[in-house]
Each structure stands twice: as C-alpha cells, then as structure tokens.
Subunit: 316 residues, 2 copies
Amino acid sequence: MRPVNGGGGAQVAHTLVECVPNFSEGRRPAVVAGLRQAIAAVPTVHVLDVHVDPDHNRSVITFAGPRAAVAEAAFRGVATAAQAIDLRQHRGVHPRIGACDVLPFVPLGEAALEDCVALAAEVGERIARELELPVYLYGAAARRPDRRRLADVRRGQYEGLREAIAGDPDRAPDFGPRRLGPAGAVAVGARRALIAYNVYIEPADLELARAVAREVREADGGLPGVQALGLAVSSGVQVSLNIVDYHATPPHRALAAVRAATERRGGRVLGAELVGLLPLEAALAAAGEALGLGGLPPERVLELAAAAQWRDWELR
Amino acid sequence: MRPVNGGGGAQVAHTLVECVPNFSEGRRPAVVAGLRQAIAAVPTVHVLDVHVDPDHNRSVITFAGPRAAVAEAAFRGVATAAQAIDLRQHRGVHPRIGACDVLPFVPLGEAALEDCVALAAEVGERIARELELPVYLYGAAARRPDRRRLADVRRGQYEGLREAIAGDPDRAPDFGPRRLGPAGAVAVGARRALIAYNVYIEPADLELARAVAREVREADGGLPGVQALGLAVSSGVQVSLNIVDYHATPPHRALAAVRAATERRGGRVLGAELVGLLPLEAALAAAGEALGLGGLPPERVLELAAAAQWRDWELR
C-alpha cells in the first residue's frame, strides 16, 4: 500500500467532517443505491462505507469531506430518504423514528466537536424549513439534557412519537412541525467517533442476548461508554453494541465482557461484525492486546512511522 | 492524528528502501547514539526506530529513505560500528559474527525486492573495498544456496568463523579479505519485511524456552516462515522469533503456538515485545482476530479509508 501522509505538510484549507446517517431501509437495494448516489454527487464528498442490514432494515452510510460539502450531502441524503421511505410500512428489529433516523456529524483531523455542534444545528434547521420534518438535536448538539441520549429521543419509536409529538411538550421537536408524516422525524447530532459493533452469540435465544446486553451496558451498571441491545436477526441473535467512548472501553474488552457474560449463561460467541468503520486507535489497541504487547502506538507500525516522512520524500 | 495520504497523488521520484542493521552493541548508550547519528546525518534518511537490548548486547536501528541515501547511511553505520565495537570483547546471548552483524535492505512502497538485491551487492562491495571487512551476501541477495539462511552464514559465530574463514572454502566471503579482524564480518542481504518478536515465558528455564522454540520453528517441522531460538535474558527466558513470512504465519498465530507449546509443558506466557516495527497488515490481522471479525482490511479503518481522499481535500 501507499503509506501515510503525516504531519509537517501543507495545511488542509477546510474543516473535515465525517457524517454517518442511519437510514430506515435495508431491504430495497435500489433505494440504498439512490441514497448513496445523492450523497456522493456532492463534489469533494467521499463515501467511505455503506453497511446494509436487512434484519435491522437499516443502512449506514459513512462519508466525509470539507464541512460545507458534508452539510449539503447530508441534507440531500435526508431529502432523498424522506421521499423514498414510508415509516408506516417499515418493519425491522432496530428502533427508529424516521426515514433518515439519525444524522450524526463527527470531527475528523483538526476539526473540533463544537464545530460539529454548530453544523448539526445548521443542517437540522434547514431540514425542518425546507423538508418540513421535525428535528431533534441529540448528543453534543442536544439543547436539553434529556435529549443527549439517542435512546431517549427515540423512546416509543415512530409509532409512539406520532401519538406524543403534538400533546407532550417534552416531545416537541427543536425545529419543525409538531406532527409526524410518513418520513417521520430526524435525530441530528454531533459526537465523537463511535464503534458500532454486533456480536453474534448462540444459542439463538433472544432472552439470552437481552440478558447479556443488560449486563454489559453502562446504563445498567456495566462497561463505561457502552450501549447495548439484544436483538433477534434472521441468522440468530446478536448483542448490538454502540461503543460511544472507546478510550473507556476498547472494543476488544467489550467483546471479552460479552463472551464472559454469554459463557456464564451456557452460551458462546460465534463472531462479530463492524457497522461502518473502526478508528485506527481502537484497531491498534486490539492488535497490541492480541500480540501480548500491552499497547501498540502508531509509531511502532512500519507504514504509520514512515508516513510522517512521506511528504519529505515526495518533495525531493 | 493526521490521516494518511493514499493513492492518486504525485509519484515519489525515488525508490524507497528500508534498512534494518543489527549492531553488536546494546550496553554502551554513547556508542548506540553515535551509530544513530551517523545514519541520521544523511539528508532524506529518517530513523524510524531504535531498539536496544542489553541482554542480547545488540541494537537494531530501523531507517528508511530514497535508495541512494539509504545506501550511504548504511555504509556510514557499518564504518562507525567497525571503529567502535570490538568483537573480541563482545558477550551477549544473541548469535553474531560482526560489529554490524546484519545489514538487510527491504523494499518499501513501490520498490522491488530485486532492487534491494542489487543494493545489497553495491553496498557490500563498498564495505569490503573501503573498510576491508569480509562480506557475506544472504537472503534474497545470496549467491550460494547455503547462504540464504542467516543461521548458516552465522554458524560458529565470530569465534568459529575466525578459525574457518581462511581454510574452509565454503566460508570464504563474497567480498573482502579472508581474515576476521576485531570488527568481524557483515552479512548484507535483501529480504521482505519481517517481524522480530520476543515472547517471554515462565518458569525461567532455558531448556523450556529451547524446547518451545524447536516446536514452533519451521526448520524443525513447526510453523511456516518462522525462525525461533530459546534464549536466557536477565529478566528470565524468551522465545525469540523471526517471522520471515507473516502471510504464512501472522504473529498472533505464532504467539498462540508458543502459548500452547509452553502451557503443554506446564509453563505460561508472560508477555511479548517487538524488535523494530510491525507491518500494518500484520497489525490489522491481529486486530481482526482479536475482535472476532475474521479479517480487518485497511478500508474498514476510518483513518486509512479517509487517507485515499486526503490529497483531494488538500488540493481544493
């Protein structure tokens, strides 16, 4: 591979941002392709990953680029989803409130989280104004403490929110109408990179998966920075993890905890999958652990150590 | 961190080469600092890692740069070592024949192994001519089949070679005099990147370490592409591995084999260390295994996936 370009070179003129929309469509490939296309059509935006899950009936598109381009691509993705996806028909094992269910902005490189907070507000306000969709700000972009957690924003899902949005002042959106149409609502947020990671276990017993999820998640006294759900999927059951603070709990340690909790109940871990991308730091932490090294800083990896010098070699 | 600069950008004007000399000095910091300095003084050469081992009484300096600069730095490193290190006084647990004991050239980026074969011959010939040291070509640069393996070139170590070099035609060097002075001889070679990896085990029983090494090394029917020695060091015993083909045996699998062989004999693994740097591919393979993912291709790692786009973002 072509090694890395580290520090010391020209500055990037733009604030770089990653965006990871979750769309409530994982069964109609043409719809997912249309979403991808709408996003990738914006110049300088690059789609880094598309994860399609038919059981969740959900797709996660990871893309990145300069701030303004990412804002435009995110808006176009939501507009396309609102036209193509009808929540009244949608069934899937993952909780959801809208066609574009979640729209998080994540700082990359030199970008700051505060910048993504401002971006979430800008894009959220535009979605409400131009698409007439209710928008809830969550994560670091939340304007009320009870909206920091996505699970709270999504309480009752589409069906429950449709009933509550007009009458319950606590469920009034931050922007947009107090009514839910076929495209539902959008949770727009800012956060640091997280790791979405599904661990498959057997036997295929939903109660087992739920018990393991309860044991490992922070909300019930488990691992710091870990959210977890037990879900039944077509191939069996999974413990679906969102590791929102992988410094507190790196994914290899979350897997060890899921394994211990599963084996204590007489089951076993079959394997795992990533949804979206894994931050390099978490990959190196897992490698260092697997190799008995304690840690593995990037400067101990040949291509990453050479990366810092690459520009010097190019210029001469 | 600043992400990676992937393909699609300007071509590097030079063939990039890595060089990983092993010097027979690991106890006098001033001598090691002098070796590093001699190498780093060559413009465009970058020292990526220095590993000093007092038990082995040996240092490994990893550096890289354009071909011609690496050739010059390698020569200066050997010249400095030949002046500073006297093999008649040298004691250490690692086998050696010279002050600069081993001088391998490794292709980086677009460079070809054949190019490093030619480079080894050029630098080896210069060492013999200007420093009057015997030079043995090994690895892919070997000109006789019985010199491909470093262990064969180093047979009898400095003391044995000093006796054999004049009389035994099979021990005549490829370049230079048929006599061994205080600086000994240099094994100059070309190879692909390898992983030098020491696994510490207990109890601190040298026979245990040797038995485990015999079980896991290719030469005795063990793992493909793995060389191993059992060594006693100040903190205990280690199985010292050279993984010369990490596609055949990735390091996490070598560690598993050492662990199994050790535990079957009633011992256990305490930890491990890298000597020099780890290729990214081996790091990601270990991470993929540790996370239950099967594999982990670079495009599933956020910073590496974004890397390919970095130049595009810089230029706009």
